[in-house]
């Protein structure tokens, strides 16, 4: 019997059907595999893996179970996990999520949040008193906690100690930002007269970004208050924005945007900038990327906004959440306690990932007290530990990213105003811009029917 449409069409049809069957068989075999793990643990943080792998192997032996550790790209975690949890697709039993993304998962009524509510569990285990308190806010929504904090991430300034000494800068006197700027104006100059500054005091991103946010936090200004109301249109924020604009724009600026990667490394190596904002996790990046400055770097607390004020802030964070669809919550919780809050593991791990854990009892481990030759033999761990209790709280919010975008919009308009008019009416303009942008965020929050009080408890919103 001959195929009526010719051999070419028949061949294409056969190839297509066989390929489809092949893919289908592979997928079915994967799905019906007998050696399924007891727990699937997904993380976006590649830096965490080297410490987790041996710890998990030990946990598996002790508990006679199988744990599958998956590395998943961060945008994938944010973009797909929420949808997967809602439609009942396969999800991990425990998952690490990035600072700033919790709002995505808690954007609806509380009963629809896909993660297990850990509020009571934390109380039962006494963790509320054992961990740095300010770290719970990032993983909470409307008073309910949905993830365990992995870190503290206090912020210091890393600086070129050798160049500062050559220039006669006494960093112990840089206790306030006013003093820092005064010295910065002397340091930042065009020595050879070619119209380009040869040296800057500090690396600050030109678009504000995370640096502006962490400086706001240090000063006590936030995007949202404890009740979730937009609050970045206050005078404190306006003052901070204006301060930042003066340091990054115009002729009296003291900063240069070093960016990331190679440019950051070159800026540090050439000492184009002397000071760099440096949370604990960045100390490892600097050590890995700019080995040429070994022994030439040192760490100091952030200058305070007023004498005696807070000398640190925070940048970034990871939280560990448990999807409700997880099949083995008790075992997953046990693994979480083992990985996150076992003091004996956290000491050696600090040597590997340079990240300060939030479990205060772990800070007595000897590894936190070791001098670091890269940072001029400073006891890096202890430097961050001293600042950890001051780390400000930053509550999560569904519209945190939107608010950051609007803060950036206001900031850019203030820059334009400053470049055109200088200091004339700068703070008034900044306040007006912040009010306009904050109002826009309020409009967006208000139109979310899932966040309205009458919808929080009703099932009406559910399909």
């Amino acid at each position: 019997m001959q195929f009526p449409y010719g051999n070419a069409a028949l061949t294409l049809l056969v190839v297509s059907v066989l390929t489809g069957l092949g893919i289908g068989i592979v997928d079915v075999r994967k799905a019906t595999r007998l050696d399924k793990p007891d727990i699937v643990f997904a993380t976006f943080a590649k830096d965490h893996l080297p410490a987790y792998i041996p710890a998990i192997e030990k946990f598996e032996k002790e508990n006679h179970c199988k744990v599958q550790l998956q590395y998943v790209d961060q945008p994938t975690v944010k973009g797909r996990l929420q949808a997967a949890m809602q439609v009942g697709a396969e999800v991990p039993d425990m998952v690490e999520i990035l600072d700033g993304t919790m709002g995505t998962f808690t954007s609806g009524p509380l009963e629809n949040v896909g993660f297990v509510d850990l509020t009571e569990k934390i109380k039962e285990n006494g963790l509320a008193d054992k961990l740095v308190k300010s770290r719970f806010g990032k993983w909470s929504s409307r008073g309910h906690l949905y993830a365990l904090p992995h870190d503290v991430h206090p912020v210091m300034l890393a600086y070129r100690r050798d160049v500062c000494e050559q220039l006669g800068i006494d960093v112990s006197k840089l206790t306030t930002w006013d003093e820092f700027v005064r010295v910065g104006r002397q340091v930042t100059k065009d020595s050879d007269g070619d119209g380009v500054y040869d040296r800057y005091m500090i690396d600050l991103p030109a678009d504000g970004g995370d640096a502006l946010r962490l400086l706001m936090l240090q000063r006590g200004a936030r995007l949202f208050d404890d009740k979730g109301n937009v609050c970045f249109d206050d005078e404190l924020t306006a003052k901070t924005v204006c301060w930042y604009v003066r340091q990054t724009s115009g002729k009296s600026k003291i900063s240069f945007p070093a960016g990331w990667g190679q440019n950051f490394a070159k800026t540090m190596q050439d000492a184009t900038c002397l000071f760099f904002i440096c949370p604990d996790w960045r100390t490892k990046q600097i050590q890995a990327d700019v080995s040429a400055v070994k022994g030439k770097m040192a760490l100091m607390p952030l200058p305070a906004w007023e004498p005696g004020g807070i000398r640190t802030s925070t940048w970034g964070g990871t939280g560990l959440a448990f999807p409700k669809q997880g099949k083995n919550f008790d075992l997953a919780w046990k693994l979480a306690m083992y990985l996150y809050y076992d003091p004996e593991q956290l000491g050696p791990r600090f040597l590997d990932n340079y990240i300060l854990p939030p479990l205060t009892s772990a800070w007595t481990q000897p590894q936190f007290n070791e001098p670091d030759p890269f940072y001029s033999n400073q006891r890096r761990g202890m430097e961050y530990i001293k600042l950890a209790p001051q780390v400000p709280d930053e509550p999560a919010h569904t519209y945190a990213q939107t608010a950051l975008g609007k803060l950036s919009e206001a900031y850019q308009n203030v820059v334009l105003h400053y470049e055109k008019n200088g200091d004339d009416g700068l703070e008034e303009f900044a306040l007006a811009e912040l009010k306009r942008c904050a109002e826009r965020v309020r409009v967006m929050v208000d139109r979310n029917v899932f966040l309205r009080t009458d919808d929080r408890t009703s099932k009406g919103a559910a399909k």
Binding site: Q86, S107, P257, E409, L416, R447, V449, A462
Partner: protein
């Protein structure tokens, strides 16, 4: 009767033509009809219809319905009527996104396409052995993915250390510390520079193909009649390449309205003061925040705009009039 020339039969007879026509008649025609089961063709066509229905018609209808709901992910939705459309049409960010998209589209049409045409004319005028090499060199950037181009130019535009800034400083003594991606007034030029590098060669290929099809006899006749290069271009070349030019303009405009990956990777978001916010980025932001209803409404508004702009362009180019 056979039409002959002194060298022999050059044109086939009418009978021969009819015979050839019979051979070339499609199968299934009245003289050679298909005798299998009547439903067989539909079976073979069904995969296409099935896939179209599943991946095109159903999503289209679903998106139309979704635009009238506010959603929190795929499972939770609430009917809001026209609220999504009302909101986006009154949203200053949407206006910014549309304005940026239109500016970029104008940049594409009025900078990129004339440049493509000029390059094509230069290549068409020359007939040396390096022609293919030039054509490949100009077209090659299009072989690179737009995400890669975004990352590449992000490095090139780096203040102080970026190649582009250093080149400008060396050439004109300005630009070493220009913040192309952080200064709202420089973001759009930076994106246009990237797309010029990427797409000029691609559109040049279309124009080159069109120019090579311009009737050389007409050009020769115009020259004999005393027409200058400008007159030849306007009266001979332009009408001949108009259908291709219309196609390039329409596809470039649609491409401009769909711009997403390049600014997103170049700016790692919407850029300072939303200067790199485009219509599709605006849509993606709602999609990413689980508000699929608003994203669907943006999609429909965008589709309507693309349809309207394309219609206007086709009407203005006069292509349809000539087709009639």
């Amino acid at each position: 009767m056979s039409l002959t020339t002194p060298q022999g039969p050059a044109i086939a007879s009418v009978k021969e033509i009819n015979r050839a026509g019979d051979i070339l008649k499609p199968r299934g025609g009245p003289n050679n009809s298909y005798r299998g089961p009547r439903w067989a063709p539909y079976i073979f066509l069904s995969p296409y219809f099935l896939l179209t229905a599943l991946f095109f018609i159903y999503p289209l209808i679903s998106a139309a319905v979704l635009a009238f709901y506010q959603t929190n992910g795929p499972s939770y939705r609430k009917y809001v009527g026209l609220e999504n459309f009302r909101f986006i049409l009154g949203d200053p960010d949407f206006h910014t996104a549309i304005l940026n998209t239109l500016v970029f589209a104008c940049g594409s049409v009025f900078i990129q396409l004339p440049l493509s045409l000029a390059l094509a004319m230069m290549l068409n005028a020359r007939s040396d052995r390096f022609k293919s090499l030039f054509r490949l060199a100009i077209f090659a950037p299009n072989l690179v993915g737009s995400v890669f181009v975004g990352i590449l130019f992000m490095m090139l535009f780096t203040p102080r250390y970026g190649l582009f800034n250093q080149f400008l400083q060396t050439l004109v003594g300005w630009g070493l510390e220009q913040r192309w991606l952080a200064d709202p007034s420089l973001v759009m030029p930076a994106i246009i520079i990237c797309t010029l590098w990427m797409y000029v060669g691609f559109n040049m290929i279309y124009f080159l193909a069109a120019l090579q099809n311009v009737d050389a006899n007409l050009v020769e006749a115009a020259k004999i009649d005393g027409a200058g290069p400008a007159s030849i271009f306007w009266n001979v070349t332009r009408p001949a390449i108009t259908p291709v030019a219309t196609f390039v303009v329409v596809t470039s405009t649609i491409g401009s309205f769909n711009l997403y990956e390049l600014p997103f990777t170049l700016l790692q978001g919407s850029g300072p003061n939303n200067s790199g916010l485009f219509a599709v980025t605006y849509l993606y932001n709602y999609f990413n925040s689980q508000d699929l209803g608003t994203a669907a409404a943006v999609g429909w508004v965008l589709a309507g705009m693309i349809f309207a702009v394309s219609l206007i362009q086709i009407f203005l180019s006069g292509t349809t009039r000539r087709d009639r």
